[in-house]
Subunit: 361 residues, 2 copies
């Protein structure tokens, strides 16, 4: 803001546009934080109560507030990264890991819930329409299949599906409850208060460098787009464009318990696509044109990430000691199903991306 | 043959062409039977020896002979069906179930071997390149993983893959050995001798009806093609044409142990496509033009059948009492993998079939 007055004859310079975006995101961050505190997100109920009462306004609003917090934290962090030559280096380099820590901590809780929902929906689909009661829309932290008598009337495999569902529900609900506690703890920590203080400063005063008055935003935004393009070039898109290439399930039974290395470049493209999207928001502000190709490519990469993590959760649950063979079998089917979703997401991304290239003059 | 002389002025009539085809197939049947007897297919070795010595000429020739027997039996049976108005009804109606029994009995042995090969290859692929020793090219009826020390060095999942491979090898080799014995018993039975006698009659004299001198082959061949077209119309081709529709794995965990009802219409089309192919052979004889679309559609349906049966075998093996959870997990992954192959085969069929329709003027 300060730099705008250095040259009053100039039109809106890079610094102005950048500052306006960061201030808007910072304001949104502070608003979401206030909402989160008011709606009981910071306490006032046990974690279990918070989940079982999604229907109550307070908690639903707390979930919205947490989502808005993550959303603005990601945007501030991404913008600091893409436009770092225009911002005070020490300040923005100090702030980014703190924002990443915050949004990561807040995201975990949501991710476990979404993963459980995805896996239970898949089990429901794999069990046929009637066999497996869907619990996805109403997760309950209490343990065990909801309709044991139903499971017992069915065959071995359906019992396995019900038991696998109960096991996943137990494990992922526990993980989510822990993530919820961790998020609450984080939001009460002095580390978080330092982040919030920094964001409050940002809302009133963006620490721009002198370069922000002379350099344009476009070259930096173009560089972000170029990094995305380069990363996409490195993806195995020709394979991905051949349906049923069976690549995603290769190593599906290999001993490695680490996330599949073949997924990493796709996850990287997902992050770069997000940075590109935020850079466009900085450039165009409220008038950012809707780019259907970016939208569908981004959705495909989100699906890729979600399916990959769900597949890993199924494999991990299968390593639980003393589970029944039928449970392990169901988890194996589920794992393969989700790895197939990974493959389908790559195909969808390839289609979306190719449509872009074809559509571009 | 007899009817040809009723009207010596006519060109080659339906009866001639039909009789020539059936006689050629009958001759081939008798040649294959002789070869099978000479190469020890009828005995001279235990079943286990027969499999462990595929490299020896005698046994390899016996396998070829059995394949040729099945091949001609299927063609004779299919031709009797498609052109039944031109053939003595009582005779051909009596012969067809016997030929079906024979080719079914002979096919079973081959099918178990191919199924094991397919499943071990899939396990090999799913375990990554180094983890699982491929045993596909050299099946051995002896039980247990070939390289237990290798399996123990790897993680839980790979142990599961190795154990699943050993279990499938044990079960399918046993089934194949039994099918081999059943085939040998069948080939020594009086029931088979009656079939062989009938085929020998066919080789010299085809029992045509008077209609064979006046009616054409084309309407009957066209009716066979129409039955195929009608059956294809009933297939869910629009769904099949959307890659990753996840249809084939629906009910993958349902309690029903019977073959998936959704596969039946595809299997039916496979049989009708075969009948259409044989009818074309009857019409065009040695000059039957190669129809790439029929070829690829047929290959897709064979793959569909093989993958469906392999998936069922993996599910069935998972019901073995007292298996380890890791084994069951690997079988679950394998089942889902093969159901995806089913889906991929449907997609391939849809592509091949659509190309036909588009290509036809």
């Amino acid at each position: 803001m300060a730099q705008r007055h250095l040259d009053p004859t100039a039109g809106p310079v890079a610094g102005d546009t950048l500052a306006a975006y960061l201030q808007a995101q910072a304001t949104e961050f502070l608003r979401a934080l206030r909402q989160h505190r008011e709606t009981g997100g910071m306490g006032g109920g046990t974690p279990a109560r918070a989940y079982s009462s999604v229907g109550e306004n307070g908690t639903e609003e707390a979930v919205d507030a947490a989502r808005a917090l993550r959303r603005s934290a990601r945007r501030i962090s991404g913008t600091l990264h893409t436009f770092r030559p225009l911002l005070d280096e020490g300040w923005s380099e100090g702030m980014r890991p703190e924002l990443a820590w915050l949004s990561g901590t807040l995201a975990r809780e949501h991710a476990y819930g979404a993963r459980l929902e995805r896996l239970l929906a898949a089990l429901h689909r794999l069990s046929g329409s009637s066999a497996f009661p869907s619990q996805a829309s109403d997760p309950d932290p209490s343990v065990g299949p909801r309709h044991p008598q139903l499971a017992q009337e069915k065959g071995n495999l359906t019992v396995g599906a019900a038991k696998a569902g109960a096991l996943l529900e137990r494990q992922l609900t526990l993980a989510r409850t822990r993530a919820h506690s961790a998020a609450l703890q984080a939001l009460g920590s002095s580390r978080f208060h330092a982040v919030a203080d920094n964001v409050a400063v940002l809302a009133s005063e963006v620490p721009l460098t002198p370069a922000a008055t002379t350099a344009g935003l476009e070259p930096l935004a173009a560089a972000a787009e170029e990094r995305l393009g380069d990363a996409v070039t490195g993806l195995p898109l020709i394979t991905a464009g051949h349906p049923y290439n069976a690549e995603a399930l290769v190593h599906g039974l290999s001993a490695d318990t680490a996330p599949q290395p073949q997924d990493a470049p796709w996850h990287q493209v997902r992050l770069l696509l997000r940075l590109h999207r935020y850079a466009r928001e900085v450039l165009y502000g409220d008038e950012t044109p809707v780019d259907v190709r970016l939208l569908s490519a981004g959705q495909a990469l989100n699906r890729h990430r979600d399916a990959a993590e769900a597949a890993a959760a199924a494999a991990s649950a299968a390593r639980t000691p003393r589970i029944a063979p039928a449970t392990a079998y169901a988890l194996g089917v589920l794992h393969a199903d989700q790895r197939h979703e990974v493959e389908a997401a790559r195909f969808a991304f390839q289609r979306a991306w190719l449509r872009e290239t074809v559509g571009t003059p």
